[in-house]
């Protein structure tokens, strides 16, 4: 008998951009032409080898043979030789661009081998558009267990015992949040999945939604059961159209199978889900702004308390969890809280998922146990290309900080990173080499915060703009030493006086670079220019201080369609 083969063509955003759709079609044609009944052709999420820049990637199961960066004509060869003839095509195997070594199986790729994939357990292994694939790998088993054997309080206790903390960045204990919502007495409650992954340089949530949407759906149903909600919303950002399509399909299929709808699996518990698409506003990742946006209002944060677990959507108790947090829930039910807490550190249980980007050899998703030193993650990413040295690692995006090379022994752990002036964030990890200018990095994040500030409270609205001005002055060689004092003063004010998380954290990139890279600021001031020649070019694109001016009539200068969405004044 011929062994059944499954060909998985990665259909995540980067691979699609590199021609995965045409490649899939080429496989289809050739498989059909030869009438290979033992081969099933599937799309998949990211295979997780850190080679997104060299896709599209294809894995042939059951053996896990790995072809990367191949073209439609190569598909014909693979179908003929490998799938039909049983002879894997060696010259098309993935070849490491650096070492030149060939990896026949993707499990041999270092980047993949050294990870511990829990939230990403199914990404790249299943077709995210087929619920059977998810079920084959144990999916919806946790839901059945919960509905048939556990009371809501048991579920909450289990999640508390696991030590799971929110993966959106703040790290609030998930079980405790659920308990608050459970305790709030109300006839209507909601569960919301925060998939507004707006942090520039982070794509961990996108990858889970595109690669394994049912894990999030199952996590949400379990959360709904635990807190007593009958309805949930997934708030997915507008920039992720593929994720929206995959989740929509997952919801429909789950409904068909009776995992969503009324009286789930005969338990008497009813729950259903709906997608709310974001409309492009970073601040909507803040939970109270997100709630306003779901309710079709401007996404403006409001002071807390009351917390959403008491007053949320339509004034009703609402639990808001990040994508990865929810994706962990079914595994925790399956394998037990003890197993989950045994991964990671006493304070930070489980694994952390990072989107490794920047000046790094292999860019992609890395999932490692909490407590893993930053340096080891850089090492998994193959280090810095072209013999250069690492200068800094920035986690947490606009809310985070850059840590210098001599602090990379720091473990990824909520408290440890916070103590150093950075933050875990929601999964972005930017690696910077010696050619990066840290003033430019600080300016980049502040410009981002300034244009994304909702404008409601003065410290954030005015402070971010002032910081962009000061940073631009320094970046373009017109800064003075006093500017550093002023910069720190404004940064501290914005940090302590702003209304919401955006304002309270957006000073971090400035404060961290002032702490660890003060010499670079001084060099700009001393030399009257950017020593690396980076800032001038960048500043001319987002001019900050000299940029668009407000016009008294209310409309900003500029042509058709120009408004303040384009950048900071």
């Amino acid at each position: 008998m011929v062994t059944p083969h499954r060909v998985l063509v990665c259909h995540e955003t980067p691979c699609v951009a590199r021609g995965a759709v045409g490649l899939h079609a080429a496989f289809r044609r050739e498989i059909d032409r030869l009438g290979l009944d033992h081969v099933s052709l599937e799309i998949s999420g990211c295979h997780g080898h850190g080679l997104c820049s060299q896709g599209p990637s294809v894995v042939v199961e059951p053996s896990g043979f790995f072809y990367n960066g191949i073209q439609p004509p190569d598909a014909e060869v693979i179908v003929r030789e490998h799938l039909s003839g049983g002879r894997p095509v060696q010259h098309l195997f993935h070849r490491d661009p650096v070492t030149g070594r060939t990896a026949a199986r993707y499990a041999d790729v270092d980047f993949f081998r050294r990870q511990r994939r829990v939230a990403l357990r199914n990404c790249g292994r299943i077709n995210p558009e087929k619920i059977e694939h998810y079920v084959d790998r144990g999916g919806y088993g946790a839901l059945q267990l919960v509905l048939s054997t556990m009371r809501p309080e048991d579920v909450i206790e289990l999640v508390e015992d696991s030590g799971l903390r929110g993966r959106g960045g703040a790290g609030f204990p998930t079980g405790r949040k659920w308990r608050f919502a459970r305790r709030s007495s109300s006839d209507v409650k909601y569960v919301v999945c925060n998939a507004d992954e707006g942090n520039p340089g982070a794509f961990t949530d996108r990858s889970v939604l595109e690669g394994d949407p049912h894990a999030v759906v199952e996590g949400m149903i379990i959360a709904g059961y635990a807190v007593g909600a009958r309805r949930g919303y997934l708030y997915i950002r507008a920039e992720y159209p593929l994720a929206v399509r995959r989740v929509q399909k997952a919801i429909e299929d789950a409904r068909d199978k009776g995992f969503l709808g009324s009286d789930l699996l005969g338990s008497g518990f009813s729950f259903d889900l709906e997608i709310k698409e974001g409309a492009g506003a970073f601040v909507c990742g803040e939970e109270t702004a997100l709630l306003a946006s779901i309710q079709s209002r401007r996404g403006m944060p409001r002071p807390r308390p009351p917390f959403p677990t008491d007053v949320g959507l339509g004034g009703k108790p609402t639990v808001i969890n990040n994508v990865k947090t929810l994706a962990f829930v079914p595994v925790i039910v399956d394998r037990g809280p003890g197993w989950f807490s045994s991964l990671g550190t006493p304070q930070s249980a489980g694994t952390a998922v990072f989107a490794l980007t920047g000046n790094i050899r292999y860019s992609g998703l890395v999932e490692v146990p909490m407590g893993t030193p930053l340096a080891e993650i850089i090492d998994i990413g193959g280090g810095i290309p072209d013999g250069r040295k690492v200068k800094a690692v920035h986690t947490g995006g606009p809310a985070g900080g850059s840590l210098p090379a001599d602090r990379l022994d720091a473990p990824v752990d909520y408290e440890a990173l916070q103590e150093l002036g950075s933050t875990m964030g929601s999964g972005g990890m930017l690696v910077l080499d010696e050619d990066a200018c840290m003033v430019d990095v600080a300016r980049f994040f502040m410009d981002f915060a300034c244009s994304e500030s909702c404008g409601q409270c003065a410290p954030c609205r005015l402070g971010t703009g002032q910081m962009v001005r000061i940073l631009t002055r320094i970046a373009t060689g017109r800064g003075a030493r006093e500017d550093l004092v002023l910069l720190r003063e404004v940064a501290d004010t914005v940090k302590h006086a702003s209304l919401c998380g955006l304002g309270q954290t957006c000073s971090n990139p400035v404060l961290a670079t002032l702490e660890y890279f003060k010499e670079e600021y001084l060099a700009h001031i001393r030399e009257g220019k950017c020593p690396l020649g980076v800032c001038e070019v960048r500043a001319s694109v987002r001019p900050g201080e000299q940029g668009r001016e407000f016009q008294p009539g209310g409309l900003p200068a500029g042509g058709v369609g120009a408004n303040l969405k384009g950048g900071c004044p």
Binding site: S53, E239, F445, K565
Partner: protein
């Protein structure tokens, strides 16, 4: 003979009516209705704001406030082709700004603007999450990775040859 503007308003009215019926009974329909209207027309004309206001309740000013708040929603027409450079972190450190500079030179417009012939709009987009391919440029919704100023120029030239306006 009815003039053009009346005709256009009629068309908008029927579009808005269709969109509204898709969301009848929905909780909090305003943003989805605006998104769908924009999808159909390309932007949200003032006539539509008034029609949506009459149907859903919020005043035109409130609706305008929602439109101006969100990057995705627009009250002015955009070009037939929308070019967006990714302004994510990885794209920034790997040469995204240089690509934007070249695009401004080629199209002779700034970020957020549309060419006079409505052929192109030039925008930036918050991270599209394809950081492995940084820097990225989106031509309409298609991601083009590992962009350089030379490559973007070539790409635009090729498009012009394929479908001259």
């Amino acid at each position: 003979m009815r003039d053009n503007s009346e005709l256009i308003t009629d068309i908008y009215r029927s579009i808005v009516r269709e969109v509204l019926s898709d969301y009848a009974g929905h909780q909090w329909p305003l943003i989805p209705v605006l998104q769908k209207t924009q999808q159909r027309i390309g932007y949200i004309p003032p006539q539509c704001v008034r029609l949506i206001s009459q149907a859903l309740g919020p005043s035109p000013v409130e609706i305008q406030g929602v439109i101006s708040f969100y990057e995705q929603l627009r009250d002015t027409p955009r070009g037939r082709t929308v070019i967006r450079t990714c302004r994510g972190t990885a794209c920034h450190v790997r040469g995204g700004p240089e690509v934007m500079i070249r695009l401004r030179d080629i199209l002779q417009i700034s970020e957020g603007e549309t060419t006079a012939d409505l052929a192109y709009s030039l925008e930036s987009v918050a991270c599209v999450g394809a950081c492995g391919l940084a820097p990225n440029v989106l031509v309409d919704d298609e991601v083009h990775g590992r962009m350089t100023p030379q490559k973007i120029e070539q790409l635009l030239q090729d498009r012009e040859e394929e479908e001259p306006w």
